[in-house]
């Protein structure tokens, strides 16, 4: 009997009204347009507590955000639930590890999770649209997600690794 494919959720978050801060939602939009089987896509300004209820339904959860200072074109790292991060000073910006912490605490679920940070450059102005360099990084990250979903294999990507080595690998 063949193994059932993993159910994957990608949540892009950020503010599209603040230039490259919209990289997360832009990635969500790009991969949603591909209609990849097994992938559910969501997007929002920021992560909030109810994302924990949704995350709890999936085998793999990918949080996609703009990264102000990370490696180019993007990084991917494994993350786990953190109770401390559930205790944000506000409700309007729960961190990915906080969402996972709540998923475990409230819904007894521990999906395998990754934080995908797409490097951005321009954040300090109002306006729609990504910078040219951010768009290049977005394309690379989109390819990574496409290949990872198709293969069912996500892996960490750190500074110095090339895009060609990411896709489809375990």
């Amino acid at each position: 009997m063949s193994k059932e494919p993993a159910k994957v959720l990608l949540v892009g978050f950020g503010n599209p009204g603040r230039l490259d801060d919209g990289l997360g939602p832009a990635l969500a939009e790009a991969v949603e347009a591909m209609g990849l089987p097994g992938l559910t896509v969501d997007a929002d300004y920021q992560l909030t507590v109810e994302d924990s209820a949704e995350a709890a339904k999936y085998d793999i959860v990918v949080f996609a955000d703009a990264d102000m200072a990370g490696p180019e074109p993007f990084s991917v790292r494994r993350i786990r639930g953190d109770d401390d991060q559930c205790m944000s000073f506000s409700s309007h910006s729960v961190r990915p590890t906080g969402v996972l912490g709540l998923a475990k605490r409230l819904f007894n679920a521990e999906p395998r999770a990754y934080l995908l940070g797409v490097r951005g450059y321009e954040f300090n102005a109002f306006g729609d649209g990504l910078s040219a360099r951010a768009r290049v990084n977005l394309a690379a990250a989109t390819d990574y997600v496409r290949d990872a979903v198709r293969s069912g294999c996500f892996r960490e990507v750190r500074a110095g690794e090339t895009r060609a080595g990411h896709a489809g690998q375990a």
């Binding site: 109810e50 703009a66 409700s91 910006s93 709540l102």
Partner: protein, 479 residues
């Protein structure tokens, strides 16, 4: 300026509220509080930013003001631009779709605030161990409540998505109407969970009622004071969160003004300034800045209205008013009770709207005689929200004035901070985290939204400092 004999306590940022703010408390050498202030440390300049933009962009553009209540700004701006296109008399489908969106927003906002920001204080005590006085502590000891908070929030967000089209930068409300109706599939998906929401809303109200009644003596004194109250009410005096006319009452219930057309708000409200704050201090024009300030939000709305037009919420309102012998309730902590009455009311309204076939209508937009000036007012979850726009003949915004709920409550929150500092911190030689949390509890009751900023990985400063009279940091807490 802090003198050599004064001690300055800074709470920065205030936690479990929406946005960034800080509290400063000045104490003299005898540890008596001499001054306590809430500062809003963000400066947005949004009113200037939108000048020169086309007016029809406003319902979408202004959502960028805030990631917590974008729907409120969306609808307040839409109501203003309705008037600019002469389309303020919406079709039944358009008005009911907007109302559904608004009740969804109110439900999710109030539920999140109550269950996840405030319930730790109410369930564990203001000065309980900070290690358990948080949402994880609630999840551990009251798991059902914690899950209900999340699921009610989620339900409200699903309503917003179904009515606004999407969660980010929803486009549902457009000048003179709405751009979609509610499909049968969307309706049925939402109706499936409505009975559960109703049951949870009743339960949440009971938690708030029981807490307030069981702690009435403490609650009556905690950060409380007499004040005026303001909200919009329907023409027959009913609570109405979406549309109505302005009413202000005194602390004892006498009407200061009533049935004021929102287009004329400027004749009744004026915005004062203080040199130490970016936020303005609105007050009633016929009074002075010292005695004309007022409260808005759930407490003010339940105080101002004559009745609620949904049966369970109306019964809850009567019980609420009986505590103060039918006079306005001026208890700061009673905001929670009032907020949960509105949760129940919102769920009742959502149920009624979902069963209304007008939501499947196709007549979505109206237009009429164009205007160059308009005001849109809505009762946002946190209180009265005013959007005013002046546009030129090229459809560009030349003036904008936005008065958000938290600005209306600015002086009231400062009063609450002062009273709690005086009652709980004056004369105390060792300032504990629990004592400082008392100040935050008073602020949290108002559910202030201090405006949100953009974010990206690595950007979330959290710091509490205790500084002596020489400016030395005695202790520091990063959260």
């Amino acid at each position: 300026m802090v003198s050599a004999k004064q001690k300055r306590i800074v709470i920065e940022p205030v936690t479990r509220v929406e946005g960034h703010g800080k509290v400063t408390i000045l104490m003299d050498e005898d540890n008596q509080v001499t001054q306590a202030r809430l500062h809003i440390v963000e400066f947005r300049g949004f009113e200037r930013f939108i000048q020169g933009r086309p007016f029809w962009e406003m319902p979408v553009t202004v959502q960028r003001l805030c990631g917590i209540c974008p729907v409120s700004h969306h609808l307040a701006a839409a109501k203003a631009v309705d008037r600019i296109v002469g389309g303020e008399n919406l079709t039944p489908t358009a008005e009911k779709m907007r109302r559904l969106m608004h009740y969804g927003q109110t439900l999710q906002s109030h539920a999140l605030h109550f269950f996840h920001l405030c319930s730790p204080d109410l369930l564990f005590g203001f000065d309980a161990d900070v290690a358990i006085r948080n949402v994880i502590g609630v999840a551990a000891k009251f798991p059902d409540l914690a899950v209900q908070g999340v699921m009610m929030r989620k339900y409200g967000q699903e309503i917003i998505k179904a009515t606004a089209g999407k969660k980010i930068h929803g486009t549902g409300a457009i000048p003179g109407g709405i751009n979609k109706n509610l499909s049968i599939a969307e309706r049925d998906a939402l109706l499936k969970d409505i009975d559960q929401m109703l049951e949870w809303a009743r339960g949440a109200l009971k938690v708030a009622v029981d807490y307030t009644v069981e702690n009435l003596e403490m609650a009556s004194a905690f950060g409380s004071f007499d004040s005026s109250h303001m909200s919009i009410v329907r023409e027959d005096g009913a609570l109405d969160l979406y549309n109505g006319k302005l009413r202000a009452i005194t602390a004892t219930g006498e009407k200061i003004f009533d049935q004021v057309d929102c287009q004329e708000y400027n004749d009744y409200i004026i915005e004062g300034v203080q040199p130490w704050s970016y936020m303005k201090f609105p007050f009633i024009k016929a009074m002075t800045m010292d005695d004309g300030w007022y409260r808005v939000g759930p407490l003010a709305r339940i105080n101002c209205c004559d009745f609620i037009d949904t049966p369970e919420a109306e019964a809850a309102r009567k019980a609420f008013k009986s505590v103060t012998e039918d006079k306005p309730n001026n208890i700061t902590l009673a905001y929670h009770w009032a907020r949960m009455i509105e949760v129940l009311h919102s769920v009742e309204k959502i149920r009624d709207l979902l069963n209304d076939t007008d939501l499947q209508g196709d007549d979505l937009v109206v237009t009429g005689e164009r205007r160059n000036h308009a005001v849109g007012v809505i009762e946002a979850p946190r209180g009265t929200l005013i959007h005013e726009y002046e546009v030129d003949d090229n459809d560009l915004v030349v003036m904008a004035n936005l008065i958000v709920s938290t600005t209306h409550n600015n002086q009231a929150m400062n009063e609450a901070v002062k009273r709690v500092a005086r009652d709980h911190i004056s004369g105390v030689s060792e300032i504990t985290e629990g004592l400082l949390n008392h100040v935050e509890v008073a602020i949290r009751a108002y559910d202030p939204c201090l405006s949100c900023a953009t974010h990206a990985m690595g950007k979330m400063p959290l710091k509490v400092q205790l500084i002596d009279h020489d400016g030395n940091v005695l202790s520091e807490k990063n959260t």
